[in-house]
Each structure stands twice: as structure tokens, then as C-alpha cells.
């Protein structure tokens, strides 16, 4: 009986430990880059942030820290928002 109880406690402890990691790994990172313009888009739109730096956020340092990442681009013009579909981030 004692052994059974000890085993149960061990199994539960291990489950909670892994469960914590799974929740972290299940985090979804979304990056939305929006170009907002009042009435005109500048022909020389900066492209620097097209290199998606999602790894800078929340101290994520490797692709194994998350299981899902996606990004999209949006334009807001005269109050109306136009977006691309969400696409998976490229692993760096």
C-alpha cells in the first residue's frame, strides 16, 4: 500500500512538472507588423523589420521554447485594416 502511494505521488509530481513545461511550450507567439498610413503610402517603406525578430520577445532563445509562431502584415488606411493571412514564422 505504501509503495502504491509512493508511486502515485511520484507519478503525480512528474506529471505536474512536465505539465508546466508543456504549457510553456504551447505558447503561441504572434507577430503583426502594421503599416499605418493617413492617406498615402511612402514609396520607401522600411523593410528592416521583415526579418521577424520574434525570438527577442519574452526571452525566448531557441525555437524549442515555443511550438507555434505565426506572423502577418497589415495596412491601416483611412481607418480600415487590410491584413495578409497568418503564416508560420521561419525558424532562425
Amino acid at each position: 500500500m505504501k509503495n502504491i502511494l509512493l508511486t502515485l505521488v511520484l507519478v503525480l509530481t512528474v506529471s505536474f512538472a512536465f505539465a508546466g513545461n508543456e504549457i510553456e511550450k504551447a505558447s503561441v507567439v504572434e507577430v503583426e507588423e502594421t503599416v499605418f498610413t493617413t492617406n498615402e503610402v511612402n514609396r520607401t517603406i522600411s523593410i528592416e523589420l521583415l526579418e521577424v525578430p520574434f525570438l527577442e520577445y519574452n526571452n525566448l532563445t531557441s525555437s524549442t521554447d515555443y511550438i507555434s509562431c505565426r506572423y502577418r502584415k497589415c495596412i491601416i488606411f483611412n481607418g480600415e485594416k487590410y491584413c495578409t493571412e497568418w503564416k508560420p514564422c521561419k525558424a532562425l
Binding site: 503583426e32 502584415k73 488606411f77 481607418g79
Partner: protein
């Protein structure tokens, strides 16, 4: 000769009387409006509208130009980067109404579109509520237009059927209008009537021959959006798939005019 004088003199007097009566009954004026859009971002534009009994012309003023700037916002699930691009095209938006036809000028990204508006039955519902806007007593009216329900406050003290933006068709000048979500709100200020105002409305009506229809206007906007995404795609790293506009974007708020939900 005497007969000519007998006819001409009373005719001349009659003409003078009719002219001065017409002048006295001509309503004309000028009003400043601010159009505020609160949807994805807050956008505000100022317009000055000149009007008389027959027509109104509303032109954008105080056009702001600003340098490029960027904001970086953190969100719970990721990073949002926002670029604010200043306006370089200073061509003003305008709205012209002569009771039978309506034209407007719209800046769609780099392109200026001159559009002839569709006919619309402005069947306003009148309400008994009144309020003061400045020194004018205004009555409430409501209507559905292009997917939104609007409340307007108009004054019969200025008896012209005009208003800001595309609004019209009441017995008096519209001084304030907003939709139920307050996503689009127009307020007025600096209302001047009569002698203090230059009542001449100068507009090149010959250009209206080149106006496109609403259907063509919507097609042009779609073309411009696709062109912007194509431009962004060309800057992407090699091997990246081209960016395409997601027309079924569920969390993209609708603009001021919702054409696919016309009521």
C-alpha cells in the same frame, strides 16, 4: 416712345423687386467640420463646407504632413510593430452636392479617385428630441447608410438640405452626425451665415466628366491594396511566398462604409 417708357419702367421696377427678394431669401454660409474615425486607429480630418440653397462643397483643410515614425507595441502573445507614414499627397478630399448629383474626391494610397456617388434615398426618421449646438436648435434624425446606423442633428434655422461628408436630405443643415458605435463622428464649429461669408463656390465641374462609378471605385481600392502587398512581397527574403490580402480576416474591423452589408 411714351408707350415704351410705360412698359419698360414698371418692368424694370418689377425686375429689381424680384432680384432683391431673391437675394434676401438666398441662404448661404460656411461651416467647419471635423471628421473623426475611431476604428483601427484614430484619424481626424478637417473640412470647410460652403453652401447655398442649390449646392454644397466641402473641402479638406489643415492637411497634416508628418515624417515617418514607428511605434513598437508589445502584446500578450507577441509583438506588434506599427509604422506611421506621413502624407505627401496634399490633394484635398472633397464632397460636392448639387441636389441631383454627388461627387467626391478620395485618396486611395498614391491614387486620387474622383467618384460619382450612387443615388440614395435619404429617408430619414425624424424624432422629437432637440438639443443646442452652438446657438442653433437642432432636431434629431436617424438613418441607416452603408452598413451603419447614424444619428444626425440638424437645424431648420439654416434651411438647406446639406450636411458633412455624404449626408444630406433633411430640411435643415446637419451640424453633427455619428453612428451607434461612434466609429465615425462628425462635429461642426465656426458656422457663418450670410453677409460675412463669400458665398461663391468655385469648382471645376468639367472634371466631373471623368468621374468613375462606385463599383469602379471599389475595384480601384482593391487593386491598390493588392498592389501594396505585392510591393511588400518584393522586399521579402528570397524564397518567401508572396503576401496576399486575406479578405476573410475576422479580426480586421470594417471601415466607415460597409458595402457588403448595405441596409
Amino acid at each position: 416712345m411714351k408707350l415704351k417708357k410705360k412698359i419698360l419702367t414698371p418692368l424694370s421696377i418689377l425686375f429689381i423687386i424680384i432680384s432683391s427678394w431673391s437675394q434676401n431669401n438666398k441662404t448661404c454660409g460656411e461651416v467647419y467640420y471635423t471628421h473623426t474615425i475611431k476604428i483601427s486607429k484614430i484619424v481626424a480630418n478637417d473640412f470647410v463646407m460652403k453652401f447655398d440653397n442649390k449646392q454644397s462643397y466641402s473641402e479638406e483643410v489643415n492637411i497634416k504632413t508628418s515624417g515617418n515614425s514607428q511605434e513598437i507595441e508589445g502584446s500578450e502573445r507577441g509583438t506588434t510593430r506599427v509604422y506611421v507614414i506621413g502624407r505627401k499627397n496634399k490633394s484635398p478630399n472633397f464632397f460636392y452636392n448639387n441636389k441631383t448629383e454627388f461627387y467626391f474626391n478620395y485618396l486611395s494610397f498614391d491614387e486620387t479617385l474622383l467618384v460619382k456617388e450612387d443615388k440614395f434615398e435619404w429617408n430619414w426618421a425624424l424624432h422629437s428630441e432637440i438639443k443646442k449646438i452652438g446657438k442653433f436648435t437642432c432636431q434629431k434624425a436617424t438613418i441607416d447608410f452603408r452598413g451603419r446606423s447614424y444619428t444626425a442633428w440638424f437645424t431648420n434655422e439654416i434651411p438647406v438640405p446639406f450636411g458633412p461628408w455624404k449626408f444630406q436630405g433633411l430640411s435643415g443643415l446637419i451640424l453633427e452626425v455619428y453612428d451607434t458605435d461612434k466609429a465615425f463622428h462628425i462635429t461642426s464649429s465656426k458656422i457663418q451665415i450670410g453677409e460675412k461669408v463669400d458665398c461663391v463656390i468655385n469648382i471645376n465641374k468639367n472634371s466631373f466628366k471623368e468621374a468613375i462609378s462606385i463599383t469602379e471605385y471599389l475595384n480601384e481600392i482593391e487593386k491598390n491594396v493588392n498592389a501594396i502587398f505585392a510591393k511588400l512581397s518584393s522586399k521579402m527574403p528570397k524564397g518567401s511566398k508572396p503576401l496576399e490580402w486575406d479578405k476573410n480576416c475576422e479580426d480586421c474591423p470594417k471601415g466607415v462604409e460597409i458595402f457588403d452589408e448595405e441596409k
